[in-house]
């Protein structure tokens, strides 16, 4: 069953549109990545889904509901949780306090203990201030916090950015374990290898448009395509 569908979405900022006719659809339970070089409109695509920017044309449907013009707190209540690129951790709150911030429906939340179940590291750090966490720990916390409302879909904006290779692997393992529970995930990444490893399907963007999409198994072999659109040199 299709969970989210973008049809010919144009969106951008005051200076003009950044994405020009994005169409994509994601099935429930799929892990999909959106790849492309810096500045091609990946983050803007996420922002238009969440409602930080409104599409100037085109529609976004989520679970059969039109959310094209919904505000961020409305898409959140529909069940879309975004983990932003800067992670958005409250620096002066502890790990546990950060996990208490999101608004949750008490009948349908993931308890803080459940979050600690995914990220045992966070439990050890529960009384540490957000600003004292490493980049990887902050990323785990941001994902954990996004899971609190038990979303229907998780949007991850550059989860590997600025992390050491070993830590990227840990984050990847965590995302995979969330995916195994049946969570629908859309990952925006510049780190192509990382994204291809954890997702089953990928869209590749250039200049605000989707150039192609395919299964990650096939894309991984297709060095020419990766080189052409993403500048990846696979060994």
């Amino acid at each position: 069953m299709v969970l989210i569908e973008l049809s010919d979405v144009h969106a951008g900022y005051k200076g003009g549109n950044v994405i020009h006719g994005i169409s994509l659809s994601i099935e429930e339970g799929e892990v999909v990545s959106l790849l492309g070089r810096n500045g091609v409109g990946k983050t803007t695509t996420l922002r238009s889904i969440v409602g930080v920017v409104s599409p100037t044309s085109g529609t976004i449907e989520f679970g059969g509901t039109d959310i094209s013009d919904s505000a961020p707190h409305e898409t959140y209540k529909q069940g879309i949780s975004l983990v932003p690129e800067d992670r958005g951790i409250f620096p002066d709150l502890t790990v546990e306090e950060n996990l208490r911030v999101p608004i949750v429906d008490t009948d349908d939340e993931r308890s803080i203990d459940e979050i600690y179940g995914f990220f045992s590291k966070l439990e050890e750090l529960q009384d540490s201030k957000g600003k004292n966490l490493s980049g990887g720990e902050q990323q785990m916390l941001a994902i954990g916090r996004a899971l609190r409302q038990n979303p229907r879909m998780l949007l991850l904006d550059e989860p590997s950015e600025g992390l050491a290779p070993q830590i990227i692997e840990d984050v990847g393992t965590a995302i995979e374990s969330i995916a195994q529970e049946g969570m629908t995930i859309l990952i925006v990444e510049q780190n192509t290898k990382f994204a291809l490893d954890i997702s089953s399907r990928a869209y590749i963007m250039t200049d605000g448009q989707i150039k192609l999409d395919g299964l990650t198994q096939e894309l991984r072999e297709d060095n020419d395509t990766l080189e052409k659109y993403l500048g990846v040199h696979e060994s």
């Binding site: 505000a71 959140y76 975004l82 208490r100 911030v101």
Partner: protein, 354 residues
């Protein structure tokens, strides 16, 4: 599965979720020295009428009313980051409501109803203005410009609607507050007693304000001010929060206006206008934005300074006052309260050492 999120919880639940989490970091700000200073200050203020002249006490009454007004501005500007250039429109609205009601219906107790209405009506107006503007996606810069226009419109309206407002002559002979139990007793509050009424009102508004900014609602406002997108993608509706705080603030401003009208007995269109709207911003800034107590100190200090300077420098007092403001802002960027927090730290250190 598909209608899982169709009944989102709104209202009080949102507040309880953030409850302990955000309060923790603010709770620590309350220190011994802080409480000590406030307590001492309050004692001095209670003794003031017995020591000082009636003239000085009268100045303090107005200063405290302006202090309440300054708190109302600090709630929106200092915490939610919404700059209003037209808050006098609400102060004046409260004052005119009080003036019109008490001069039309000359019952001693009517002033009490006036105080309530002077809170409720400006609060509703503020809610509507903020609700309509913010939900139409107007940015905070434009909102500021619109509040400026609001002050100008309000003072013009007071001039034009002269049947009700007395036009440029204003309203005179507004009776002082009083309490009446028909057939039993009538009690009119004297000017000296009014000092205590206003002091109680100021302390009450301050404590309520403090309560609000330390509550989950208040900390969410600060969060919205710092990063609206971050807060809204955790499920909070920024428009709702900004609208509520604006309405609350305009209500308090109106309440202060009503206290003013009952005290001075005379109100006129400048009370709604641009000049008072900017003056209150200066008080807040000089006192210390986002501290609640700072704006009260700022309003009191500057109002008293204004009176002192106008006696000392007959022709140049406005210039002198302006220079003083420039010096304060340059030397103490955190406002007068910034100086206090340095003293407070010293006292705390002293308390710890002994």
């Amino acid at each position: 599965m598909s209608n899982k999120k169709s009944n989102p919880t709104i209202g009080p639940v949102e507040f309880s979720v953030v409850d302990e989490s955000m309060q923790v970091s603010i709770g620590r700000l309350q220190t011994n020295a802080n409480t000590l200073l406030l307590g001492l200050g309050l004692l001095v203020l209670l003794a003031t009428p017995a020591v000082f002249s009636g003239y000085f006490v009268g100045l303090l009454v107005v200063a405290f009313i302006y202090g309440i007004f300054a708190i109302s501005v600090d709630l929106v500007w200092g915490y939610a980051g919404i700059l209003s250039f037209g808050h006098a429109a609400f102060f004046g609205l409260g004052a005119y409501l009080m003036g019109v009601i008490t001069t039309e219906l000359s019952l001693p107790s009517i002033g009490l109803l006036g105080l309530v209405l002077a809170f409720l009506v400006p609060a509703v107006v503020g809610l509507v203005v903020a609700g309509v503007l913010f939900s139409r996606g107007i940015s905070e810069e434009y909102f500021t410009i619109i509040t400026l226009a609001l002050a100008i419109v309000a003072s013009q309206a007071a001039l034009i609607l002269s049947d009700v407002t007395g036009g440029s002559n204003g309203l005179t002979e507004i009776p002082p507050l009083g309490v009446e139990i028909p057939g039993v007793m009538t009690y009119i509050i004297s000017h000296n007693q009014y000092y205590f009424v206003v002091l109680v009102a100021l302390v009450a508004v301050f404590l309520i304000g403090k309560r609000i900014v330390q509550s989950p609602f208040g900390t969410t406002l600060v969060g919205i001010n710092e990063n609206e997108t971050k807060i809204s993608s955790l499920g909070y509706n920024p428009i709702k929060y900004k609208t509520i705080v604006f309405g609350l603030s305009t209500g308090i401003a109106g309440f202060a206006g009503a206290l003013y009208a009952a005290y001075s007995g005379f109100i006129s269109p400048p009370l709604l206008g641009f000049v008072l709207s900017t003056e209150v911003l200066v008080w807040v800034l000089v006192g210390g934005r986002g501290t609640l107590i700072g704006p009260v100190i700022g309003a009191t200090a500057l109002y008293l300074a204004e009176n002192m300077f106008s006696g000392m420098f007959l022709n140049t007092w406005v210039l002198m006052l302006g220079l003083l403001l420039v010096v304060i802002v340059l030397v103490f960027p955190a406002g007068i309260i910034g100086v206090f927090s340095i003293i407070e730290k010293k006292i705390n250190k002293y308390l710890k050492d002994t």
